[in-house]
Amino acid sequence: MPESVQAENSEFPSRNSSPTAASTADTPASNRATPVKGNSALNAQHFLSSPIGCKLFVKKLMQNQESEFRKAEILSFRGPTDDPSKMEYYVHYVEFNKRLDEWVPAERLDLSREIEFPKTKKQKLKEHIVETPPPDSPMRSSKGARKQKGSQEMSTQGSSAGTPSQKRRLEDIAAGEVGTPGDDTETPGFGGSKDMDDHDDETDLLDPDDPNQGTAAPPEETFSKEKEIEKLRTSGSMTQCVSEVARVKNLNTIQMGKHEMEAWYFSPYPLEYAYAEKLYICEFCLCYYVSHKQLERHRSKCQLQHPPGNEIYRYQDISFFEIDGRKQKTWCRNLCLLSKCFLDHKTLYYDVDPFLFYCMTERDEFGCHLIGYFSKEKESTENYNLACILTLPQFQRMGFGRLLIQFSYELSKVEGRVGSPEKPLSDLGLLSYRAYWTETIVELLLSTTDEITIEEISQRTSITPQDILHTLQNIGALKYYRGQHIICLGDKVIDNWEKGRKKKRRDIAPEKLEWKPMHFTPSQLRFL
């Protein structure tokens, strides 16, 4: 197995970077692709000869419901090439998060339905001439095209809510595809994710119907890589160049403590450990082994029973430990490797020195077990109070994410500053943050009788004014009434808030926090 894995891997980057990686989904934009219809047998043949980049319907197995066929893109394959039936394909379901990408056996592919073949270079080039100035390198060109298409897609979707795909989604929801009713307050986990580039912000301010928008983005994208690395060097731990990150996850199962979980994304654990059946991780020192014997040996020697730092908060069975990336390199690297498995946009390009890690643990008779953590720049140039945040998957949907977020804002309050999480947020991160912001702001508003400014809310909650605005807009609380702006809390909003409050299990007790902001001299922040 390891042999084949390595072979696969060495092959992988070139395939990945091939122009065929462009994703034109089942959106109107995808009509430009060349659907080959008719002779399905011929198509299947064609597909088997070069499966990478093809899009076809793949059976997606659902946990609590019936499986369905969804359009998916083939990102990789493995197995004996002479026996197609035993081949395995790594598929990315279109419009699903990457964390649901998986290896599927050949029989789950539906070769009888239409297959979209990736565009040839020629076709690609044509499109470029039409839409964008040709970028300088082939690799970038693919990237640029992809990005551009993405925004094109977005604009069409954004402007008309009634596109077929959108409709179908709603139907899906109605069909009860998502979530289980009941335990609701928490969203599973987060991945923070690195902010969109500056140009992304700009484009967002533009009219989405502006046809120039699409063409404007790609050239900037071409030099954003250097820009991004420079940005990563000085700050931040999130990457926005998703294509930089290997697209095929290299780990299957992770055993940590008593839990077993599936990895979500690629993580740069040593190459030899990639594609191992199971990665054993010591719960306390986060050391990783593929051999069970090694784990046993390690456990017999490991003396850690809590994160190797200073405890700064203890209330009930929850403790927070503050860990300096500079002082606890190995531990923090291990943590980052682990969290990369669950955070798509996190980058490990640079070392952990400029970050402090706040680790939340749950205490029991064996020690303080890591539940989640967030990292924070020692000095944020962009006023971020949080870089990455993760609740380990085995502890998700239990309210710990909210605790972590709350704790990060408590730290900001002690610092006397306002802060915001580093962007981009992951989908889970966005939902969690929105929930926290809504809850906090609504609570403040309900307890306030006077008029209030957004600034004031910001000062009292340490949430940035932008995030407050975002939240108020999101809950539809900003109204224009008799010539004046007002905040109007809808009945449903209040209902929701009360419901949530009743359910609340845990809270951060600010008075239990014994913490002073760490100050670093310039030389300490030199990151050598």
């Binding site: 069970h292 989908d427 939902l431 809808g490 449903k492």
Partner: protein
């Protein structure tokens, strides 16, 4: 309501009223406020924002806020994480119970510190070890020892051949590791180490030289950005470096400043401490004083006399004060001093000798340096008075003294002091207020026309001054007319008498005024003539023409005689003679005189004529004749000026001549 009017933009510092939806039944459009603020981004990556599950969750929550959808929160599906391992297995792995400290955990040990030997044996090692232990029952290795030996080999090999994977043939033989196992903890396992080495070598070769413990790729050399496995790169500090020096400098400065401030602060602290103590001691003293007062009162009341017993402190103080002027030398020190006496340094001996010498030298002198009374020095002008003769027993108790003085306009005065004109001599003016300096002198009778004095006083004058010595009638109310005329006259005199042959002047630069004794003039006429003569003489002298007019001289003489009614011609003549003699002497002494004269005379011409009249003068009419020649006809008159207290001199007196003469103002002259 659509956008018929433009909604004002919302600002962050804008006050917003808070309402509940139920309070505002007339609220129109759900969305009408949303336009006013820019739509804030979600912060999610653009591509991901469109993902199915996120959109579903967002719209679901939106529905919950607006229409009250049933299930407000939707989960985004995530891969499975719900599985747990067998609990027994878990407890096998995690068995150390945790003693929760009551205080917050403080921990700084690293992972490396906490996990012991970094090498963890895997299944392959386990198998090998089992077979080894079976086949070598005498060399049984525990797992821990095995690991430590293997780790030793591994770490040494990493040091020696760090890039073994590039060329597996470089794998070092056991001999290279042997010395490692002759040191302490491994000595007992030397035998086993060899076997372990073989095992290690085999494994390493299987792994193509790659180290047994896989590590994440952090290779600096691999600057390959596209390799996703390279992580935790070090940050280059290029951009930061620029500011580093300045940072360091300012750091240094700040540190220094801090240290200085620290010092200042501690100083101030000490000062406050001292002042506090001082205040305390003051208060203490005050209270002691009060107590004493009370005590004294009590004593008086109780009539206790014996103060000594009651004021022990005071007594002590006294002795203290007394002793403060002396140096107490403790006995042990004293001894040492004696002991050290002969060791006195040479320098000390020299100093002592010098002190003794000075003391001897100063013997008989009274040291008034520190005495309370210091007499004032005589004023500087009075210091110029000189005695005529050296003081001796024979001279009267006080001799008259003289000094020469340059007055305004450069006129030369001879001041004298200590004169009391003889009663017989005629006029005596006892107590006219003395001019400035010689005020305290007691006057006594002296014949100031005594030859001795005269000759001395004359000797003070330089020749040219003597020559200018001219007597004029004193300006008194009677002579006012003459004076008035005199004002006009100088011009005439200039006109009439100047035209003389200038060529003769160089040799005979001695203006002489002669007055014919035969001529008889009225006092007014005489005065007029005198004035004329004087001016003419001055002018002539200035021009360099000798002007000999005996007549005017004689006129003046006669006039003087008439005025003062003195008839003692003999004395007068005698005096004049003496004066002439003195002048002669002076001439001899000062050969430079004539030359000087020329230069000086020129100055007179610049004198405004009115000055000559308005100011009163003692003019010694200069006699240019040699003493032999001057004889009886020439006379020099010292005239006393009655009208003016302060005689002035003519401006042609050299300024540089020191004024060492007597003041004369109050003196009356007898001619």
């Amino acid at each position: 309501m659509s956008s018929r009017f433009r909604v004002k933009r919302l600002k962050f510092d804008q006050s917003l009223a808070i309402h509940r939806q139920s309070d505002l039944p007339d609220l129109e459009d759900q969305l009408n406020g949303q336009r006013s603020a820019p739509q804030v981004e979600t912060g999610v990556d653009k591509e991901e924002e469109e993902e199915h599950h996120l959109q579903a969750a967002i719209s679901a929550s939106h529905a919950a806020y607006t229409t009250g959808g049933q299930d407000s929160r939707l989960y985004i599906p995530t891969p499975d994480a719900s599985q747990t391992i067998d609990l027994k297995e878990f407890h096998r792995l995690y068995k150390t119970p945790f003693n929760n400290p009551s205080s917050f955990v403080r921990f700084s040990a690293t992972v490396e510190d906490s996990i012991g030997c970094p090498y963890m044996m895997d299944e392959v090692d386990d198998e090998w070890l089992m077979t080894f232990n079976k086949s070598h029952p005498k060399l049984v290795l525990s797992e821990d020892t095995f690991e430590s030996i293997l780790w030793r080999i591994e770490s040494v090999s990493l040091e020696k051949v760090p890039y073994l994977e590039t060329d597996i043939t470089n794998i070092p033989p056991y001999s290279e590791f042997e010395p490692e196992f002759s040191v302490k903890p491994y000595t007992t396992f030397k035998e086993q180490a060899k076997h372990v080495y073989e095992h290690w070598k085999k494994r390493r070769i299987i792994r193509k030289g790659v180290p047994l413990i896989p590590s994440v790729k952090m290779d600096e050399a691999l600057r390959d950005d596209s390799d996703p496995y390279v992580c935790f790169r070090r940050r280059e500090t290029k951009a930061v470096r620029k500011t580093r020096r300045t940072d360091q400098q300012s750091m240094e400065k700040l540190r220094k400043l801090r240290a200085e401030l620290e010092t200042a602060r501690s100083l101030l602290e000490m000062v406050t401490r001292r002042e506090k103590l001082r205040k305390e001691s003051l208060l203490m003293e005050h209270s002691i004083f009060n107590q004493r007062c009370m005590l004294r009162e009590m004593q008086q009341q109780l009539d206790i006399k014996d103060e000594q017993d009651l004021f022990p402190i005071k007594k002590k103080r006294k002795t203290e004060a007394y002793s403060s002027t002396r140096i107490k030398i403790p006995i042990n020190k004293l001894k040492r001093d004696v002991y050290d006496a002969d060791k006195k340094s040479a320098a000390q001996a020299a100093i002592d000798a010098e002190v003794a010498r000075r003391r001897e030298r100063n013997l008989g002198f009274e040291d008034v340096t520190d005495s309370g009374y210091q007499p004032f020095l005589p004023s500087i002008p009075s210091q110029f008075f000189r005695n005529v003769e050296k003081p001796s027993e024979t001279t009267p108790r006080r001799q008259p003294t003289y000094r020469k003085r340059i007055g305004r306009g450069g006129r030369v005065f001879i001041d004298r002091r200590g004169f009391r004109p003889a009663e017989t001599g005629g006029k005596y003016k006892p107590s006219l207020p003395m001019e400035s300096d010689a005020s305290d002198d007691e006057d006594y009778m002296v014949d100031d026309m005594d030859d001795r004095y005269l000759s001395y006083s004359c000797s003070l004058l330089q020749e040219n001054e003597l020559r200018n010595l001219i007597t004029i009638p004193s300006l008194n109310p009677n002579t006012i007319t003459a004076q008035q005329v005199g004002i006009i006259l100088p011009a005439q005199a200039l006109k009439t008498q100047v035209p003389n042959d200038p060529t003769r002047s160089s040799q005979q630069a001695i203006p002489i005024k002669r007055q014919s004794s035969k001529q008889r003039l009225t006092p007014q006429q005489a005065a007029l003539a005198m004035t004329n003569d004087m001016i003419a003489a001055n002018v002539a002298a200035a021009v360099g023409t000798p002007h000999r007019d005996k007549a005017s001289m004689q006129l003046a003489l006669q006039h003087l005689q008439q005025q003062h009614g003195t008839t003692d011609v003999g004395t007068l003549q005698k005096k004049i003679l003496t004066a002439q003699l003195a002048q002669h002497q002076r001439l001899k002494e000062d050969p430079n005189g004539p030359q000087k004269e020329n230069g000086n005379r020129r100055m007179t011409i610049q004198m405004p004529p009115n000055l000559l009249q308005t100011k009163t003068q003692v003019l010694l009419s200069p006699s240019s004749n040699p003493p032999t020649q001057s004889g009886s006809t020439d006379a020099i008159e010292l005239r006393q000026q009655h009208l003016l207290k302060k005689p002035t001199t003519l401006p042609n007196t050299p300024v540089d001549s020191p004024p060492h003469q007597h003041s004369q103002p109050s003196l009356t002259h007898q001619v």
